[in-house]
């Protein structure tokens, strides 16, 4: 197990290296540059290029960047003058993580419950209700969901704060808005997966052995049915924590999504790369955890101990 994990970590680092290199190249292929502005003159541009070291050969810039990266230094942002990428991430990530975790907790807990309940009560009214909830969730884009929630709960009825993120009441609308799609996705996948599992032999066997209904559902069905959900949760976790641009904009939350999109839009090379490294590390870690979780959750997969 230890060796397996060590090997996975080494491979993850190699993956990151490739990722950084690819994005380093891609970002420079983008049309335009970080200095473009309505009032840019060739002279000022030249000064800026020298200041940021862009007058040097690209390979040298790359090596300089990698050298700093190894030391954990992501460099200075270009759009937010005088601020390091490390500082930006350190300030923004807690907001996104908090929002993302709340959204995921709502999505996974409610989604799984709905999926299981609806699969066990197939073709009954309660199934229909669960399916309708799931469909509403996957039928409405996040920005419509965000605006609608904000409009009714915040503006029209005044029940919850309209925007910003400064206390529990503030977190409710954005986390529901963010989590609803995932909730629906989880519940539908879980329902499908449960229906698949119901017909498996081991379920019949367990039933034949006289196991209680609750025990069968809990021990045999959910445990096997949850696998496809675990698979999709890795990327979903990453995307919930990265792709919150829309919700963050609507609710004025200073999280990562905003920086991510604006860094690409303003071609802030160091910030784009810094964010990519951060999310890349996040992603490979999430995948690592998913792979290890597979070993824990799936009764048939066991990583050899040693």
């Amino acid at each position: 197990m230890g060796r397996y994990i060590l090997k996975r970590i080494l491979i993850s680092l190699a993956t990151l290296l490739v990722l950084v290199t690819v994005v380093f190249a891609l970002v420079r292929l983008m049309p335009g540059d970080p200095f473009s502005s309505e009032k840019m003159t060739p002279q000022v541009r030249q000064n800026l290029e020298r200041y940021y070291g862009f007058d040097k050969p690209v390979l040298e810039q790359y090596l300089t960047y990698m050298g700093r990266l190894v030391r954990g230094d992501l460099g200075y942002s270009m759009k937010y003058a005088n601020v390091t990428v490390n500082e930006i991430i350190a300030k923004a990530f807690p907001y996104s993580a908090d929002l993302g975790l709340r959204a995921l907790a709502i999505a996974v807990s409610v989604g799984l419950t709905l999926g299981v309940v609806s699969a066990l009560n197939r073709k009954k009214p309660i199934d229909a209700v669960c399916v309708v909830v799931a469909i509403i969730g996957t039928s409405i884009p996040d920005f419509i969901m965000g605006y609608v929630l904000q409009y009714f709960f915040g503006i029209r009825w005044g029940l919850l704060p309209i925007a910003q993120y400064k206390g529990f009441a503030y977190t409710i609308l954005p986390s529901v808005g963010l989590g609803f799609y995932t909730l629906a996705l989880v519940s539908r996948l879980m329902r499908s997966s449960m229906l698949e599992v119901v017909q498996q032999d081991y379920v019949k066997t367990a039933r034949a052995k006289g196991a209680s209904r609750f025990r069968i559902v809990r021990k045999h069905m959910i445990r096997n049915a949850i696998l496809p959900i675990v698979t999709v949760l890795g990327p979903i976790t990453a995307s919930v924590l990265t792709g919150t641009f829309v919700i963050e904009s609507i609710f004025a939350i200073p999280g990562m999504g905003k920086f991510y999109v604006s860094s690409v839009q303003s071609l802030d090379y160091t910030l784009v790369l810094g964010m990519t490294v951060f999310f890349g590390a996040f992603l490979v870690t999430a995948n690592l955890i998913v792979d290890v979780l597979y070993g824990i959750v799936d009764p048939r997969i066991r990583v050899a101990r040693g």
Binding site: L26, S139, S192, L227, P235
Partner: protein
């Protein structure tokens, strides 16, 4: 073959022989897998209804814009943000353009992107995920690391680069979506293949000497068809929403074309004063998704090999 013992009068009998044709004849018409699936799908009333809705929208996407005399691009300074009327059935948008024709022009874009991008994603992702999951080991490791790298690249960058390489528009959008979005399907299929490949019927096929390709295509994939289809149906709204998001940050459909996502985005800007401008696109997006979901459910049941002949 000669009879033994006292032989009856042979003239009373006539030799029948083997009816080789009759032996193999099947009384009821022989159904292929797909015919059977279609038969079962037809029996599912909700799925048929859903199919009709999707069909209706596709037809309307073709003929809808021509049912009114207003072009989807004609602006009118005197009729901006109008409510539905005899002239403008769905009202007009902020530039005074007829929303009825825009909704159906948007349907063309959204449905096209939704279906084409998702289909390509499923094909590419399913194939790569299937291979990775089936072979496991080094192949899996390499493919999954490639996936990790691709997943880590901000897709806005890919979308922008696609716009530079290709002409901005639907084509570059679809390519950008496929380049970045097949990964989800690949990961999903990989996980499922890893699960199913340990099943007895796979072991049996292997013992019987079936090739890897046969096992993957004939034995494993049909068993995953239900989940893949459900997942694909769920991915269609995702593609439509992604287009809306990309339009929102300026990387979408080029003016004066429009899409449902774009109309919804425009409508959401003035939700508190002109709610209908959000309602129409949101209604069509949601009902399309509803229909696709019901259809996905129906297909899931219809394509499940274990439910065959029920």
């Amino acid at each position: 073959m000669e009879a033994i013992g006292d032989a009856p009068d042979r003239s009373l009998f006539e030799r029948v022989g083997k009816d080789r044709a009759g032996m193999e004849a099947i009384e009821r018409p022989n159904l292929t897998y797909w015919q059977d699936a279609w038969r079962r799908l037809k029996a599912n009333r909700m799925a048929v209804f859903a199919l009709c809705v999707v069909g209706l929208y596709v037809v309307m996407a073709v003929v809808g814009p021509w049912m009114t005399s207003y072009s989807y691009t004609a602006t009118d300074a005197k009729a901006t943000d109008a409510l539905p009327s005899a002239a403008h059935w769905f009202g007009t948008d902020m530039l005074g353009r007829d929303l009825w024709s825009r909704v159906w022009m948007g349907a063309r874009t959204s449905l096209m992107i939704g279906f084409v991008a998702t289909l390509l994603n499923t094909l590419v992702g399913g194939l790569i995920g299937g291979v990775a999951g089936y072979y496991g080991g080094a192949v899996d490791m390499v493919l999954m690391r490639v996936v990790d790298v691709l997943y880590g690249i901000p897709y806005i960058i890919v979308a922008i680069l696609m716009m530079v390489v290709m002409e901005p528009g639907m084509g570059s959008l679809i390519v950008a979506m496929v380049v970045t979005r097949w990964i989800g399907m690949a990961r999903f299929v990989r996980g499922e293949v890893m699960r199913v490949k340990e099943s007895d019927f796979v072991a049996a096929a292997r013992v019987l000497g079936a090739s890897d390709a046969t096992i993957l295509v004939r034995h494993i994939m049909p068993n995953l068809m239900g989940l893949i289809i459900t997942n694909t149906m769920m991915a269609i709204p995702n593609a439509i929403f992604t287009e809306a998001f990309l339009s929102f940050i300026g990387l979408g459909i080029q003016p004066p074309e429009c899409s449902w996502g774009l109309l919804a985005r425009e409508g959401s800007q003035t939700l508190s004063i002109y709610p209908l401008k959000l309602f129409f696109p949101a209604f069509f997006i949601s009902t399309t998704m509803l229909a696709l979901n019901l259809l996905g459910d129906g297909l899931r049941d219809a394509l499940d090999p274990r439910l065959r002949g029920e």
